[in-house]
Symmetry: C2
Subunit: 236 residues, 2 copies
């Protein structure tokens, strides 16, 4: 196994906590007092899969995630009865880049540093290049390359997203392992011939999370977190 | 200025020395005694621009540089009266990956480490992703991302190669600086609105080099090497 590809939102970084933090700051600055920041983050994120599905289904040409996030932000503001037109569009673009400023889970940076010693490590995320690059620079994520949906013009779990990324690496699918906290991502990667590694992120969706609490298949590796995955690969 | 993009072959790594080293090893292993490795490297490289021109001119769809290098290797072997058909294609593929195993100039790794502290740094090379990634992993080049011709499906100096890369970074052209030891690369980058930095590599083509020995225009920065460029940006 030569390369490890990582899901990012949820697996490497805490999107819900980071977006809620930025929404809280934004609301405070604009005198918006009746919004639960975590509920806003959940509502914004709920529009993520439907927006990408327009692209995956071929009803819309590929556009980067920053664009989908911005459209979804407008829709979420409307759903919370916040009049986006009264807000400065520069401020809204800045809020949209909350997704560039997410914090890693505590094991992510030390785990990735260890995994990088013997493997190529790169994100295979639906996030766009600038988003993933700005996030990595801020958080110290030691990626060897910034890969993902924008580079291959296909959103996960479209098989093209995995296969084109493997091809860019000049590797065979079985030389590459997809690492994710989401079983559906791993099912799609395995169907393309990749190895798979699962780790749970039981508070990704907040305290009441009831999905992806455990592996639902016999993935190549099942780890507690990224440091445990490094331990297992060291011992293998 | 937020990002620095680097030409790689010649500017960051010594392609001639590295390819000649690998050609010498290959010839020794196959009992080929009448080939000057540096002359072979020059001949192989001489086919580089004409091969890319087929793509730039639209006569051929984009193909990655590994493919062009492999075709050019066959042609170079023929020009040296070496029968490629008698050689194992696995061995030839391995020789083709000599371009993945080039050594950096002595100032490159320390210079890039310093430049990375305050800027996004990435290659904008005609090399493909796997080539640049394997090179970086072997040589310790601390790129924040692996960008270049393959990611944007355009070979330098096609304006699309610069403009699409700037767009991927989510930046404006004037926020990005192209760094190269080749004046023509910088002329093309400046025409797209990028800032420019020149540094000479007077032995890139060997002891008799007569091109690109000095800046031929008033580039934004003119430096002795990458450490000097870091000094100048620190002082700016």
């Amino acid at each position: 196994m030569k390369a490890l590809l990582f899901d990012v939102f949820g697996t490497v970084v805490d999107w819900r906590g980071g977006v809620a933090r930025e929404v809280a700051t934004f609301c405070a600055r604009h005198g918006i007092t009746d919004v639960d920041p975590a509920a806003f983050a959940d509502a914004w994120r709920a529009r993520y899969q439907p927006a990408m599905e327009e692209v995956r289904a071929g009803r819309r040409p590929f556009v980067r995630l920053d664009v989908l996030h911005r459209e979804n932000l407008d829709a979420t503001l409307a759903a919370f009865d916040i009049e986006a037109r009264r807000l400065d569009s520069v401020d809204l673009d800045e809020l949209n880049r909350a997704w560039h400023r997410l914090d890693p889970w505590p094991d992510a940076v030390p785990g990735l540093k260890r995994l990088r010693q013997d493997h190529i490590i790169a994100p295979l995320s639906n996030g766009n290049v600038a988003l993933l690059l700005n996030m990595a620079k801020r958080a110290g994520l030691p990626w060897d390359a910034i890969l993902g949906a924008e580079v291959v013009a296909a959103y996960k779990p479209d098989p093209a997203s995995y296969l084109r990324t493997v091809d860019l690496l000049g590797l065979a699918p079985e030389e590459v392992c997809m690492v994710a906290a989401h079983n559906d991502d791993l099912h799609a990667a395995r169907a393309c011939g990749l190895k798979t590694a699962f780790l749970p992120r039981p508070t990704e969706h907040g305290p009441g999370q009831c999905t992806d609490l455990a592996a639902d298949s016999n993935w190549t590796w099942i780890a507690a977190d990224l440091e445990d995955l490094a331990d297992q690969l060291d011992a293998a």
